[in-house]
């Protein structure tokens, strides 16, 4: 069952989107498996995960395009089971934008205003103009969708979704068809618009970098389940599972056995042929669900930027396998006793080197 953090009950307002133990089966396969989360009013909430993890199905369950096989979906405090999409007060932008090809930009944006009055007593035309300028497409209203660039189409789709003033905005990989530069620019714009309007947003992406950059909170999904929910920082620095640790950014995950521990430090015998013992900081008592025991097998991770060449603590001798120049930094792949490690540095291939890390930069992962 959902715990209080997942349901976001720390906020005073009732959450705008609530999924409570929601599942969706297709015959024998389960696309969404007991998912629970809550999105607060005005929050930018992202579902991230590899393709096939169930994130899009989850979004479609919120939109009413799919019905859950089990569990409850609530929007603005109302039960949504059996409520069709058109009665959910949502706006949606799809990966391919799905602009109506037989309508021009203005007609596309105005379409939703056939079914609800524009907010604040505006006329339809005023509302469309307002949105055109919001998405920076002033004067493009008479164009046909196929005369627009990909980025412009995306903004039309966004404007169309926002025009009726929905309480929930659903974004299904809206950037993935765009090139990298445009994507970065648009996600800033998107975040701006979202904050200006304060519309509760559920965002689906497979791009973890985008998820971290744009979201208030992120849910990482895998095989139909949520692995972890948290702020981008929590997700990045305190991954709850090995999957999250490795999916979000580069990471080095170590397995080992607790040899000794005191109140501040754990000595961990790393798994592998060569016996190596490293010290890592003991996490605060309340962060872990179970108490650590001597002799216990544990996982912990160290980010590449924390694995420093020449660092004296916890030194590991490795050889340089390959390097990848990324501009700001160079990603170096090392081989340590047959296990790959990622560090940042300027080593050259074939060189032997020693890397180490500060015990406080090691983070214990609770689950495999």
């Amino acid at each position: 069952m959902a715990d209080s953090e997942q349901l976001g009950r720390t906020d005073d307002h009732p959450p705008t989107i609530v999924l409570d133990d929601v599942s969706r089966d297709y015959g024998a396969t389960t696309a969404v498996d007991g998912v629970s989360f809550a999105v607060r009013d005005g929050e930018f909430f992202t579902l991230v995960g590899p393709s096939g993890c169930g994130k899009t199905t989850t979004l479609r369950l919120v939109g009413g395009f799919e019905q859950p096989t089990a569990g409850r979906v609530q929007l603005s405090g109302e039960e949504m089971v059996g409520v069709p999409p058109e009665e959910r007060d949502i706006g949606i932008v799809f990966q391919n934008y799905a602009l109506f090809p037989h309508m021009n930009v203005r007609e596309n944006i105005a379409y939703g205003l056939n079914f609800t009055d524009p907010p604040d007593g505006q006329t339809k035309a005023e509302r469309v103009d307002e949105l055109l300028s919001l998405v920076d497409l002033d004067g493009m209203g008479e164009r046909d969708p196929d005369q627009l660039s990909g980025g412009q189409q995306q903004r039309v789709a966004l404007a169309r979704a926002l025009a009726p003033g929905p309480s929930v905005l659903l974004l299904d990989e809206p950037m993935s068809a765009l090139d990298a530069e445009l994507r970065e620019r648009l996600r800033v714009e998107l975040k701006d618009i979202q904050q200006t309007l304060g519309v509760t947003t559920l965002y689906v992406t497979h791009d973890q970098e985008e998820a971290l950059a744009i979201s208030d909170r992120v849910a990482v999904m895998r095989d139909g389940r949520i692995e972890q929910i948290g702020t981008p920082r929590e997700i990045y620095h305190q991954p709850a599972t090995r999957f999250v640790a490795e999916f979000i950014g580069d990471n080095n995950v170590f397995a080992g056995e607790i040899e000794e521990m005191d109140s501040k430090t754990l000595s961990v015998q790393l798994a592998g042929d060569a016996p190596t013992v490293v010290d890592i900081e003991r996490p605060a008592e309340d962060r872990l669900s179970t108490e650590l025991q001597t002799g216990e097998e544990i996982l912990f991770c160290v980010r590449p930027e924390s694995l420093v060449v020449g660092h004296e603590k916890n030194a590991l001798n490795a050889s340089v396998e390959s390097t990848e120049f990324l501009g700001e930094t160079t990603r170096v792949q090392l081989d340590w006793n047959g296990k790959p490690l990622l560090v940042h540095g300027d080593e050259t291939v074939g060189e032997r080197t020693s890397v180490g890390f500060d015990p406080k930069n090691a983070h214990i992962i609770e689950r495999e």
Partner: protein, 599 residues
Amino acid sequence: MSSSGPRRTVRDRVERRALAVLAVITTLLLVGMFYYPVGAVFREAFIVDGRATLGLFLEFLRDPFYFGDLARLLRGDPLREVLPSLLSFERPSSIVGFTAYQAFLSTILSVILGVPLAYLLARYEFRGRRTLRSLTIVPFVLPSILVAVGFRATFSTNGPVNTALGFFGLGPVELLFTLEAIVIAHAFYNAPLVARVTLAAWESVDASAIETARSLGAGPFRAFRDVVAPQLYPSVLMGATLTFVFTFGTFPIVLALGDASLMTVEVRVFRLVERFDYAEAAALAIIELAISLTILYAYLRYEAKQTMQSRGARPLPRRPLRPPALTARELVPRIGLGIYSVVAFVLFVVPMVSLVIASLTTDGGSWTLDNYRFLLERQVEGAAFQVQPWPAIRNSLLFGVATLAVALPMGITVSVLTTRHYRGRKVVDVIAMAPLAVSGLIVGLGLLRGPVFGIEFGGYRLIIGGAIAIVAAHAVAAYPFVVRTVAPGLQNLDPRLVESARSLGASRARALVDIELPLVWPGVVAGAAFVFAISIGEFSATVLLATGTDQFTMPIAIERFIGRRLGPATAMGVVLLVVTSLSFIVIDRLGGEQRNGGL
């Protein structure tokens, strides 16, 4: 949300239920006017002397009269005796074999004659193009007796074709009462069908796809082969499939233009019904249906795998018919079209002109207006119990329009239902197509013994007849055309278009009307034309369900005006020709070539 959300009005609620309501009405109509009556007749094939059996089917399968060499094999004749004739390419002498054979040839010819017409209409601009486009399907509505009149006049030993051939020192061709005559007459009916569905697909090809191909270095032929043709195959194949199914069930044309040695399954069903062998008639009709549905099913499986473009944002521009330059690239296709139009003129136009001439001449060959005078006299002086021309025209048009109003929503509803993804939906699709494939005689028999005589319910007899029943029967017969012209387009629309519309507050029905239908509009218009054609041309159900001569239609008037000479019936046929031609022009004009949807 409840306070700030979209307002829900009564109309919204109606819209929300619209599709469900339509689906229920469609089902009721189909069950009442088709599945139940037909099922009741088919049931007899399985019951002999009160016991359930498949004996009749086995009997047919083992009778060489029906199944030829196949039956001989099933009967136990040794393979080596049967094989040589089984593998020969000669015309099969068995009824089922011959029926399939002539249907196959008819299909080939219909495609050969239909596709160039679609090409001409889709790719060239010329005076009268839209009118020609509208009139394409006129042959489809002509009662077979009139087609027979036109063909006999056109291809008779001293008819215009042989006269023209003689002028060039050729001929004469003895075409009448041969397999060739039947095949050509079938093409007369069905090539327009192939042309119309292919045209709808061709008009939906997006110019930008071709421009993309050309920009990638593809020559015009290559671009056609790689971009245009794949979008046409499904439609051409659909036209071919429907042609096969129709000609497999052919009946009056074979009787009128073929010799009795050319017996089709349906003619034999007719014979069996005539002598009240309902069980045998039903069994044979079921075999006929099974073959047709197998073909349809194969097509539907194929169709499902295709990615047909629903309407392109920008259709291909049409070229002038007059070549802009005297290059081979410009001239070759136009010369080809020139040759085609001579052939098409002889096969399509001359028979209809012959029909008009036949209505204006006496036996001796002199001009006369007597046949039209007869129509006027019958209108003015006819006894009350006689069929009169004007009510027949009026009824045909009213039933046609009413059938459109029923069959279009039915067909679109079924299209929506069969393009959703669920298990066995192809089976549902095939069953929904059954009205195209079931023996017309069996449908007639079923209607007679069901709705016309009355369906018994606990001591009451529910009798269904009159104008409403006629429209219902027409709609049931015609709606599959709408499904076939609309469903492939819907199938290939991005489902996110509808989802976007619904997220914006549109009901499912509203999204269908606002978004999907405008995007598959050429298919809707083509379907509408077929519906109207089917309704106008329908004879057997109408004559059974009419509760008075005041409900008779033009085809019935034609049939009733047959006398020793066919002149008066032919004159009525010309009236039918004119009325339906005008109607098709109106339908196409109302439908528009490209509709702009939206606001």
